[in-house]
């Protein structure tokens, strides 16, 4: 992240800024504007989710039984822990403790890989059960206790779209954290002299956590919408 236009000693302060305060505040607020766009990005998906859920409560309740709340729960705890590690990594960056940062970033990466691993297990199980929407959608009908399979398919459509996009964000997070870790490892001034780059990556990672905080209860922990036994879908 160094600016080529001027000498080495100035590669922390970019030429368009007057001082570090201005630069740092711009970076932090800039990251937040990016996160605002991300909020809107996922917001639309949550909106779509809420319509269909409200409409097809019973079918979706039956469909959600295919998801394992235990696996999702492990992932939730996992992301929470990684978020904590990330926050402390930023603290270590403020303290300019290179090893501290590296260890915590390594922990975050490990958590991210575990997350993706569990996601892989979940996805491949869904795929093996023919729950991926589209031409191959051929679920075991008995699993859904008479739910309208169209709506079940809609459920899995949104499930794959939303958790998939979240997964993509985790992947991007891995790349970014990896790059940041490399910089710390090599002791690049741009990260060691100033904690802001680490903070920016941290902000992104926390956002990824926040999305999962909503995804988990909405997909994995649905309450039963109908009284007593099963209930008719409409």
């Amino acid at each position: 992240m160094s600016h080529a236009a001027h000498g080495d000693e100035f590669n922390v302060l970019k030429f368009q800024y007057e001082d570090m305060d201005q630069q740092n505040d711009s970076y932090i607020v800039g990251m937040w504007t990016f996160l605002v766009t991300e909020v809107m990005f996922f917001g639309m998906l949550f909106l779509t989710y809420s319509f269909y859920r409200a409409n097809y409560q019973n079918d979706w309740f039956k469909a959600h039984g295919e998801l394992s709340w235990q696996l999702g729960g492990i992932n939730t705890a996992n992301l929470l822990f990684s978020s904590f590690l990330m926050a402390t990594a930023v603290r270590q960056a403020q303290l300019k403790n290179r090893m501290g940062v590296l260890m915590r970033l390594g922990g975050v990466l490990a958590c991210a890989f575990v997350f993706l691993g569990i996601k892989y297990v979940e996805y491949s199980e869904k795929y093996a059960h023919h729950l991926f929407p589209g031409p191959g959608f051929a679920p075991e009908v008995s699993h859904f206790q008479g739910a309208n399979l169209d709506h079940v398919q809609l459920f899995f459509g949104l499930y794959f779209a939303m958790t998939g996009l979240h997964g993509v964000h985790v992947l991007v997070g891995i790349l970014v954290i990896g790059a940041l870790g490399m910089m710390w490892f090599k002791g690049k001034k741009i990260v060691t002299e100033d904690y802001i780059p680490t903070e920016l990556v941290g902000l992104y990672w926390h956002f990824v956590d926040i999305v999962w905080i909503f995804l988990y209860p909405l997909f994995y922990l649905m309450p039963n919408p109908s009284a007593g036994s099963g209930g008719g879908s409409h």
Partner: protein, 164 residues
């Protein structure tokens, strides 16, 4: 204004909050508690509990369940944003932009009013000429709603089933 940018870093050093480790540990602890709460709350069918002793509709309990789930997620988000993401100590500009997205989500969700109103519109039912306040909550265009079998309603002679 001739100070070197490197000097600026050192000058600023004290300006940034370096929080105690315990703050992060506490925050993570609270988040973990909320996580357990979410899972626990989801295991309880509040609708089922409310229906029998209190005589409340099952739907009420269902919505209580939902509100708890989303509410806890909201609180967790607030905690993450404020403490992990340091918005509590951010400049007012930072606060503004951190909140902007969350402010615009309700604007986005105002699309819901359309779907809400559709239920309450005086729609003439398609196969008989009377107005019916549509009794079933057919909020969105569901194919179930569309595939009406006239035979059920005793108006079977009006429209041959075949076209539809």
């Amino acid at each position: 204004m001739a100070k070197s940018p490197l000097a600026a870093v050192h000058d600023d050093h004290g300006g940034h909050h370096i929080h105690a480790n315990s703050m992060y540990v506490k925050t993570a602890g609270i988040l973990a508690v909320f996580m357990v709460l979410t899972i626990a709350a989801a295991q309880i069918d509040i609708g089922h509990i409310l229906t029998k002793p209190l005589g409340l509709s099952h739907q009420v309990g269902y919505w209580v369940n939902n509100v708890i789930a989303v509410g806890i997620a909201g609180v967790k988000t607030y905690i993450v944003v404020m403490y992990f993401m340091h918005v509590k100590w951010a400049s007012s500009l930072g606060k503004l932009f951190a909140l902007m997205g969350f402010f615009f989500i309700p604007v986005l969700f105002s699309v819901w009013t359309d779907f809400y109103f559709r239920q309450h519109e005086p729609v003439a039912h398609w196969y008989n000429n009377d107005y019916v306040e549509s009794a079933t909550p057919r909020i969105i265009g569901s194919t179930d709603g569309a595939k009406i079998n006239p035979g059920e309603e005793g108006t079977q002679n009006r429209i041959p089933k075949s076209v539809w």
